[in-house]
């Protein structure tokens, strides 16, 4: 495989994969939060509709959804999407369904007492969600979102089937023109791994920041020893004892 092929196919393909991942991840995040919070609604019809969305898109093959947006959507609505965007939309809707389950589960794990404290202070349901429940659920969401983001990155290779020139598409082109299967696909494996690894590193920073936002400091490992003693035995509460 020559430098020319690498420069003309692999590098642009890498860039397309990064774009597809970032765009569909952002859109999937929006879908996750909207559908996930709707699934905790008090109204059964809202829960039903958002639950139906979740079941349908979880059960649908991402590949078929991609084909549907690329080929069925223009026929049905008379409007052709740019292939990259058809792919991004299909991936976001599919992975957003999985993400909504992460959001719903994390919200459900926020203690009931927090909701009651919010009611006691007369917050509206929307304010409770935004100021109390989501901020507390967020640190719990980050690790599963990391998983999902990596799944999504690997899922972007599916959009090569609708002729989006991503990394997987570039690999196929090079293999067809040079017949060098082993080096090409080994290179792709390494590149996908490096992308996935950088997602994990990035998410770890997000997670640490999120934990700090609820007063948990994971980096201080000695805390369990002193943390319990200092406030209780300190000057502030020396009552009787």
């Amino acid at each position: 495989m020559s430098w020319g092929l690498f420069e003309n196919w692999i590098l642009p393909g890498l860039w397309v994969t990064v774009q597809a991942t970032v765009f569909s991840a952002l859109l999937a995040l929006v879908v996750s939060f909207v559908v996930g919070t709707l699934r905790t609604s008090r109204l059964w019809i809202v829960r039903f509709l958002s639950g139906a969305y979740f079941e349908i898109f979880r059960g649908a093959s991402a590949l078929v959804v991609i084909f549907w947006f690329a080929y069925a959507f223009p026929l049905l609505f008379g409007w052709q999407l740019v292939p990259l965007w058809a792919g991004v939309l299909a991936l976001a809707l599919t992975y957003g369904a999985y993400g909504s389950e992460i959001v719903r589960g994390s919200l459900a794990a926020v203690p009931e007492a927090q909701r009651e404290a919010g009611i006691a202070l007369s917050f509206t349901p929307m304010q409770r969600l935004r100021r109390i429940e989501i901020p507390q659920a967020w640190p719990e969401m980050v690790p599963p979102f990391n998983n999902l983001a990596i799944e999504l990155l690997k899922g972007t290779s599916l959009i090569s089937v609708i002729a989006v020139a991503d990394l997987a598409f570039a690999g196929n082109v090079i293999r067809l023109s040079t017949n060098e299967s082993a080096p090409v696909y080994t290179l792709l494996l390494v590149l996908y791994f490096l992308l996935a690894f950088s997602i994990t590193r990035g998410m770890r920073v997000v997670e640490r920041h999120a934990k700090r936002g609820v007063g948990k400091l994971p980096e201080k490992k000695s805390r369990s020893g002193q943390g319990d003693v200092a406030p209780a035995g300190g000057s502030t509460n020396g009552g009787g004892a």
């Binding site: 927090q114 009552g239 009787g240």
Partner: protein
């Protein structure tokens, strides 16, 4: 073994170390000009339960309950666990709804509203409006772990009452000083002890300028040595403000200290009510006597 008279132990009334001699503001000062109950219409019924029944499944927790609390008064509910005391506070906070009967706060229906002359179950907006008159301190503090101490206290005044941010922060600082935690303003709740968290929770409830403060076994979850500091703050508030209090507690000496009236509950009914002197020294009801001897 103590009679209630002798239970005023020093260990129970000692001030928290950090508030001694620091010249912290009085509760009345910290609550500011718009302190609750400024009109002090004594004798006016602020809270009224009328024929309230609450069941959980087969279990009748409150049985056709009628009682009222006048403005500015401090009422303590005592009784064995499961007698319905906490249920009363949860009804007042609209965390649960009565099965029968009505509750009014300051003349307005709670969990009901009048439409075309008929009483119908209230919508969320109506409940929120009435609820603003009521503040609650929970057994488990329930501070918001995602906010530092100061923001725990300012969040609701800013976003619910629409108070100016700086004004809310200034008032919050006063209240946090009142509860003796000024040096902890910038900490998260997880970095505080239980007693400190509970004092922040008291400041948070007061920041909403409620007319009524509900105290739900506020010291039950605390280590014994942290109880005094919390009760001290509450005594200060009870003695120096006009705020109406409804209090569920097992701290009998505290109840005796702050109460105008004590209601003894058993099996969802008030079996005896009267002044703390009467209830603690010379109760009429055998069940009351039995209960009091079991907690002392």
């Amino acid at each position: 073994m103590n009679t209630p008279n002798e239970s005023n132990q020093p260990s129970d009334t000692g001030s928290p170390a950090d508030s001694a001699g620091t010249g912290r503001p009085s509760a009345a000062e910290a609550l500011g000009g718009g302190a609750p109950g400024k009109s002090r219409a004594e004798g006016r019924e602020l809270i009224k339960f009328q024929d309230v029944t609450k069941r959980f499944g087969e279990n009748t927790v409150l049985d056709d309950l009628c009682f009222s609390v006048d403005t500015g008064k401090h009422v303590t509910l005592i009784g064995p666990s499961g007698s319905g005391k906490t249920t009363i506070l949860r009804l007042l906070m609209t965390l649960i709804k009565p099965d029968e009967g009505t509750i009014t706060v300051d003349g307005e229906y709670l969990t009901h509203e009048e439409k075309n002359g008929k009483l119908v179950p209230a919508g969320d907006a109506h409940n929120r409006a009435v609820r603003k008159k009521i503040g609650m301190v929970f057994q488990q503090f329930n501070l918001f772990p995602n906010m530092k101490v100061l923001r725990n206290v300012t969040e609701a005044p800013v976003h619910v009452l629409g108070m100016d941010k700086d004004e809310a922060a200034e008032r919050a600082r006063g209240l946090i000083e009142l509860v003796g935690l000024t040096e902890h303003l910038d900490k998260y709740p997880t970095q505080l002890s239980g007693g400190q968290q509970q004092r922040v929770a008291i400041a948070r409830a007061l920041a909403m300028r409620p007319q009524v403060l509900l105290l739900d076994e506020v010291t039950s979850a605390l280590d014994p040595e942290l109880v005094a500091g919390v009760l001290d703050v509450l005594r200060d508030i009870a003695h120096s403000t006009d705020i109406t209090m409804v209090c569920v507690t097992h701290e009998m000496s505290f109840a005796r200290d702050i109460s105008d009236r004590v209601l003894m509950f058993d099996q969802g009914k008030i079996i005896e009510s009267g002044s703390p002197d009467k209830i603690f020294n010379d109760p009429d009801n055998d069940r009351t006597r039995e209960f009091l001897s079991s907690v002392h």
